[in-house]
Structure formats: C-alpha cells, structure tokens
C-alpha cells in the first residue's frame, strides 16, 4: 500500500574508497601525537582508541548500506519480483550477506587486537599492533570490493525505477509489441513515452497518471510480450509479466486489428490465451487499436471468431469478486490513437470497471460497517400532497420592478466607458458649473497677463477705479511739471572759459604726477641751476601773453637785472675772509661768458670731466667722477668669446649637503 522510495539509499563507496574514507577519518579525528616517553598506559590508550575508532567507522558504514537496501521478502511482491527480475535475487542477497560477514569480521578483529593492546609493553609494540589491526580490517574491506561495486550499480538502477503505488487504482496496458500501448498512454496521461515503429521501443515499465471521477488512477505501460514459454522470456518481458501477476489492476489487452505491428490476429490471440492465467480476478478489457487502418466489422470471419473467443474468455471473470462486465460493450472496445476516436471511451470503461470492483471489495470488507455507521442521510417523507412553492413579499417584487425601470439614467462612468475608457476620456468638470450665463462655461480663463496674476485684480468695479486713477494722472500733469531752476545757463564765452580752466587744471595735475614719479630717479636741483635753459624771457613772455598781459615791460626788467649783465653779488661768510668758492667769473667779461655758455653743447671737451656743473645736481667733483665711472661700466661691452654667459646654467653649489649626507626617508643611499 505504500509508495517505495528507492532514491533515499545512500551511495555505496567502492572498496578502496571506503578504506580511504575510514582511514583518513581516523587520522583526522583521533589525536596524532604520542611520544616514547609518555606513560605506557597513555600509549596503550592512544592506540586502542585508533583501533576502536576505525572499527566503528567501518561498521557504521557497512550497517548503513545493509539497512538501506530493501529486503526482498519484506517488500511488496511486485517489487520483490521486479528486483529479482532485474538484479537476480540470489546475487543481491549474497552481496548483502557478504557485507554483513565483513562487518562481523571487522568486529572480531577489533576485539582481538584491543585485547592484545591492553598488554602492549612498548610504544613500538603498540604501534605495530595497531598497524596490524588496521591492515586486517582493510584487507577484509578489499575482499568485499566487488560486492560493493555491484550494490552501487543496483542502487543507481533502483533509483531510476518508476515509483508505482501498489495500493492505488491501476490500469495495466499489455499486448504484443508495437500495438499502440505507449501511444495510448501518451494520449490519456501527461507521460511522454517514446513511440517508434520498431518493436521493443519500450524496454521497461512506465507510469502515467490520469483522473476519473475525482480519483487518481495510475496507468502502467509495459513492454510488449511475445508468445513464449515463461522460461524463455528475457528481462524486459519479465518486467511486464511481473506487473501483470503482482499488481491488482484493470488490464487492457491491446489488439492490433490491422496486423501492422508484425503479428497476425491469430498470434495475438495465442498470446492472450497463454497469459490469461495471470489475469486471475482482475477486470479485463480487450481493446482493438488502429481502427483507422482496419475496423472490427471489416475483419475476416476467422479473425472475428478469434476475437470473439478472446472476448468470451475475458467475460469469464470469477463471479462474486466484482468487476463483472455490465454488458458486452464493456469488454470489447475499439479505438484509434491516431484519430483519437474511442480513446476516452476506453479509459472511462476501464476506470469504471476498476472502480466498481474496488468499491464492491470495500463494501464486502470488514471495515465497511464502521464507516457506514458514521454518517446518515435523512430523507424526510412527505406529509401530504400540498404544494409549497417559494415565497417573496410583494414590496420586494415592486422594488425590483422599479429598479429595472430606472436603468435609463446614464452615469459619468457610462459616458467614460463609451468614449474610450479611463485613460482616453477625461470628464469635463465644467459641465455642472453654476454661472450667470451658461455660455460662459467653456471660457478659457487666463491666469497671467503681462507678468501679473489676473486673479489678484478681479474686482466688479475695477473700471471705475481705473477711471479715477486716470483722472488723477491728468490732474497731476496739468498742475505743472517741474519747478524750474532760477539760474540761467552759462554764456558761450563762460562755457569756453570753464573748459579752459578744466584743461589747465588737468595739465597741472599731469605735470605734478610726472614730477613726482621722476623725483625718485633724478636729483631735485633748485631752479637757479637751470641746465636745460628752460627759464628764458621768451618763455615768460609767451606765458604772460597767454594770460592776457602785455609782457614787454616784464621782459625788459628781467633782462636788465640778469646775472650775466650785472654780475653776481659777492656773498661774504660771517666770520673772516673765507675764499669765495662760488665765484664763477674771474676776469671774464659778461659777454664772453654768454658766448661760452651758448656754445657749451658743442664744446664738451673744453670742460674737464670732473668739473661740477651746477645744473646737474652733483654735490662735488668726486661724486660726479663716481657717476661717470658707473655709467661707463654699465655701457661696457662684455667680452663673451664663447664663454659661459648669464643665460647659461650655473650650478651654484656643486655638492649640496642635503644630497650628500644623511639618511633617506625612502630609498637607498648606495649612490650619491
């Protein structure tokens, strides 16, 4: 009744792998360090632990495997037979038996060696004993290597077996090879079994599930059967035989009327008769497939006779067991999987027969009364023949009628839906505005005008107020504009004078600025030492006449009083008869002096170099000489001669201290 799960069996390691696993575990999980000098009890303990640990691991792994694998006797006979068919029950049992023996042997070894280790007297002896123990265990494991490999193989195959629930309602499909069993399965279930024109496409059992009357049915597809004695059957056929024998299911025997499977109807009939023993008390249906190629009516007489024989045999189910055919129709059915004609009918018939049988069985079983006792359906008997129909109050009926009448009102939603739905149509909210004049409903309302918010200005009597404003404005204008200035403008002459004054002022400022800037680089010499001959009477005359004064008298006066004519006054120092240093003229005549002075520009050589000329600004001769030398030096032409010049790179310090001494924060100081 249970669903077997062969997928949960743990992987069986090969012999060498098992040894490796266990030994490496021992090495990792037990202490590894021991010395000669340790106490002997400790040494013994150390090695005993290793032996025990190894034995435990071996035993655990072997036990797990032995327990995981199903015992053929304990499982459902279908699976038992299936395992036998596939893997040979004896071989299977032997392998598991070997594992068991190995386990016991390892246990024995451990007991022996632990006993010996208890009396080990040196580290070396203990170590040797441990080595021997482990070695023997490994040898034992090596010997069962082939069994382990076989079991692993079996496990892998078992995991791939179809999971058949032996208790669930099942439909079994059997028949000759290539009659259309797998295509039928594909049609009624979601299974996707390979369908090919060659025989023995299906090599093992396939399961599909289908529903009928709220029940889930398993449909099992079997490999094709040949008409052979049981002993001669191969593994694949044995699978289907196992299924037939052990499973309680509705059996659909497929018949190929056209013979395109390669077997004639007589052959198929022979097969049927040979396996009908196996049907026992299962409901049997004979399904004639491939009616698109050959119908039942179109059969020849002989073939028809054979078919009828089969049908009668099928009808002969053991009475009282249930599953009897209600009528002939249920036993013999025709269909075509290619055209889908009659497929569902077959399925329904099969399911129905099975369901009937199962229900009858259940009814007859001992559990039924307990179930029946739990519920009771009450059917009250009518008291009299009076009719009592449904009752609705009048008010409700009236309201309903009114509502139906009121359906004409059109809502906004309806309008929206008419005009394209929610995203397309947007309801106009203005429709219901209450305004003085309905024409205004659709007016466009401006919000800004010339940078002002229109709503800030709205006022019913705004025009009035604007008119007032305008009146104000005009009143202000008429009042008279400005209060005019009393002063008149200047005359043209006055304007000109003003401009002149301003120009003159500007010039003065400019001159002053120049003087200020040059004062730093030139000596300020008093006016009397007039080197450049600026202060002449002509100049004075010009300036005076520009001011509007007649200069002639002034010029006369100046000339009469000039030094050159009169000669300078001697100025004596206060105490004593100091030599007059400032005496310029010796016995020269004034006129001569004038001539000299006028020719000074061209006769530079006549004057000695260091002589101090008053207008230049030198203190004394020494100062002038110094100035002269400096000027000469500045204008000297340098003798370059391809020597290094100013523009050529010069390293001021050839060996700077910071590069040639001290440690570096980063880097080496190998090279300096």
């Amino acid at each position: 009744m249970a669903q077997y799960d062969f997928k949960k069996i743990t992987v069986v390691p090969t012999g060498n792998d098992l040894i490796d696993i266990v030994l490496s575990r021992t090495q990792r999980q037990t202490p590894t360090v021991i010395h000669k000098g340790n106490a002997i009890s400790r040494v013994r303990q150390f090695y005993m632990r290793k032996v025990k640990f190894t034995e435990t691991n071996f035993t655990d792994k072997l036990s797990k495997t032995i327990e995981d694998f199903p015992r053929v006797e304990d499982i459902h006979p279908f699976y038992g037979d299936l395992l036998h068919v596939l893997y040979n029950k004896d071989h299977y049992k032997l392998a598991l038996g070997q594992l068991n023996t190995a386990r016991n042997l390892i246990k024995r070894i451990r007991e022996d060696y632990v006993k010996l280790l208890k009396y080990g007297d040196s580290l070396y002896r203990c170590k040797s004993l441990k080595r021997a123990a482990l070695g023997r265990m490994c040898t034992v494991t090596k010997r069962i290597g082939p069994s382990l490999a076989y079991l692993e193989h079996v496990r892998q195959h078992m995991a791939r077996l179809p999971s058949i629930n032996t208790g669930a309602p099942t439909i079994l499909i059997c028949g000759c090879p290539n009659v259309g069993k797998s295509s039928f399965l594909n049609k009624i279930t979601r299974a996707d079994v390979e369908v090919q024109p060659y025989a023995f496409t299906t090599k093992s059992l396939f399961v599909g599930h289908t529903d009928y009357k709220y029940l889930r049915y398993q449909v099992i597809d079997t490999p094709g059967l040949l008409d052979r004695p049981l002993e001669d059957r191969n593994i694949i056929e044995m699978c289907s035989v196992t299924a037939l024998v052990n499973l309680h299911a509705a059996i659909l025997f497929f018949l190929d009327l056209s013979g395109s499977c390669g077997y004639s109807i007589s052959q198929q009939a022979a097969l049927f008769h040979s396996i009908k023993m196996m049907f026992r008390n299962n409901p049997v249906l004979i399904v004639c497939n491939k009616t698109d190629l050959q119908t039942l009516e179109g059969l020849s007489g002989e073939d028809l006779k054979l078919v009828m024989e089969m049908k009668s045999a099928a009808l002969k189910t053991i009475p009282g067991q249930g599953g009897e055919a209600a009528n002939d129709q249920d036993v013999l059915l025709t269909m075509s999987t290619i055209t889908d004609e009659g497929v569902m009918a077959v399925k329904n018939a099969a399911c129905q027969r099975l369901l009937d049988q199962r229900s009858e069985r259940k009814m007859k079983s001992k559990k039924m009364p307990t179930v029946l006792n739990r519920f009771h359906v009450a059917m009250p008997k009518p008291r009299d023949q009076k009719e009592r129909p449904v009752c609705i109050p009048q008010a409700v009926l009236e309201a309903r009628a009114e509502e139906a009448a009121h359906e004409e009102r059109k809502t906004e939603k309806d309008i929206e839906n008419e005009n394209g739905g929610a995203g397309v149509y947007s309801a106009s909210l203005r429709k219901h505005y209450i305004l003085a004049d309905d024409d205004w409903k659709l007016d466009i309302l401006p919000e800004f005008l010339d940078g002002h918010n229109v709503y800030d200005f709205i006022d019913p009597d705004i025009l009035q107020r604007v008119e007032e404003l305008e009146r104000e404005e005009t009143a202000v204008e008429e009042d008279g504009g400005d209060f005019e200035m009393e002063d008149e403008d200047f005359t043209a002459e006055a304007e000109k004078d003003l401009q002149e004054i301003r120009k003159r002022k500007k010039l003065l400022i400019q001159k002053h600025r120049i003087k200020k800037s040059t004062a730093e680089s030139r000596p300020t010499v008093p006016r009397k030492f007039d080197k450049d001959r600026k202060f002449t009477t002509e100049r004075m005359g010009r300036q005076l006449s520009s001011l509007g004064i007649d200069p002639s008298r002034a010029i006369e006066r100046a000339r009469s009083r000039s030094v050159s004519r009169k000669g300078r006054k001697r100025e004596r120092s206060v105490g004593g008869d100091g030599e007059d240093v400032m005496e310029i003229d010796g016995g020269l005549d004034n006129k001569k002096k004038l001539r000299l002075r006028s020719r000074s520009m061209s006769v530079l050589s006549q004057r000695p170099l260091g002589e101090v000329v008053p207008g230049e600004g030198f203190k004394d001769s020494a100062q002038k000489m110094k100035a002269v030398t400096m000027a000469r030096n500045a204008t000297k032409k340098r003798n370059k001669d391809a020597r290094r010049g100013e523009a050529d790179r010069v390293i001021p310090t050839l060996r700077p201290k910071h590069l040639f001494s001290g440690k570096r924060s980063i880097g080496k100081t190998d090279r300096r």
Binding site: D450, D456, V574
Partner: protein, 169 residues
Amino acid sequence: MRLEFCWFCSSKIYPGHGIQFVRNDAKIFRFCRSKCHKNFKMKRNPRKVKWTKAYRRLHGKDMTKDSTFELERKRNRPERYDRNVMENTLKAIKKIDKIRHDRAADHIAQRWKPKAAKERREARKELEQSISLIKAPLAIQSQEPAITVPKIKVKAPKQQTVEDQLMEE
C-alpha cells in the same frame, strides 16, 4: 498657477523656475534662482544687498507708496466667474500697469533732478575762483574794470643787509 515673488530679490518667479524652501515653522521661502538661494543660505539680509528690490524700496530709490498697488491684492476667496468682469479686468490691468510704470519713472527722474542744479552751482564757483589760471587779474581788470579780483597778499622774504647781520652778532 500663480506668479510668486522671490523672497530675496522680489522678482517674479514664473512656473518652472526657482526653488522653494519650507522651514520647520512652515514658512515658505521662494527663490527665483540659485543666486538668491545661495545668498539666503549665507544669511544675508536683502535689505542690505544693493541690487535687491527690498534695499531699493527701503532707501527710497524706488516708489513704495502708490494707489496702483492697492488694486493688486491677493484674494483668498474665489469669485464666481463673470465674463464681463473678466474682460474689464484684463483691460484694466493694462492701464494700471502703464500708469504704475509712468509713476515709477517719474519717481526716479525726480531723484535725479537736484543733480543738475548742483552741477551748475559748482561750475559757477569754479569759474569764479579759478579764472586766474587762464586770465591774469591785470588783464581782467583792464578788460572789465567792474570786476575786482581778490588781491592775494604774499609775504616777501626780508633781505638781510650787512648792517642787520652785524646787528645780529
């Protein structure tokens, strides 16, 4: 949609421009551009920043009190739409705008007026005082004897005679 005024420079903020800042006390500050926003963040007082309207009004550079301002008022209660009123309003806005603009221009012109008179007075004074730069007083006197140029007294250095020097000793 409403045209707001920038909190800092008092210029109009059109839709789609500027930033609004809402403070924790729910006061809303609107700025027309990041310049004003940044100035605000620097905690500058618009009344002290020369180019803002707040400064200009405070210091009398722009017109502050006028009847045209009373016509523009923020109304909190919506009025029922009336087409005629709307028409009149639109016409009125234009006129009011023009009047306001003229009055503001007048105000500014009024500010500039005293300058001309002042300049004239200064020029007159300059002419009077600095005439000596281009015309000598003698010339002026000879030309226009009516005008008397102010006499400038100059202290001449005393020439030390020999007697005086001996006296000092």
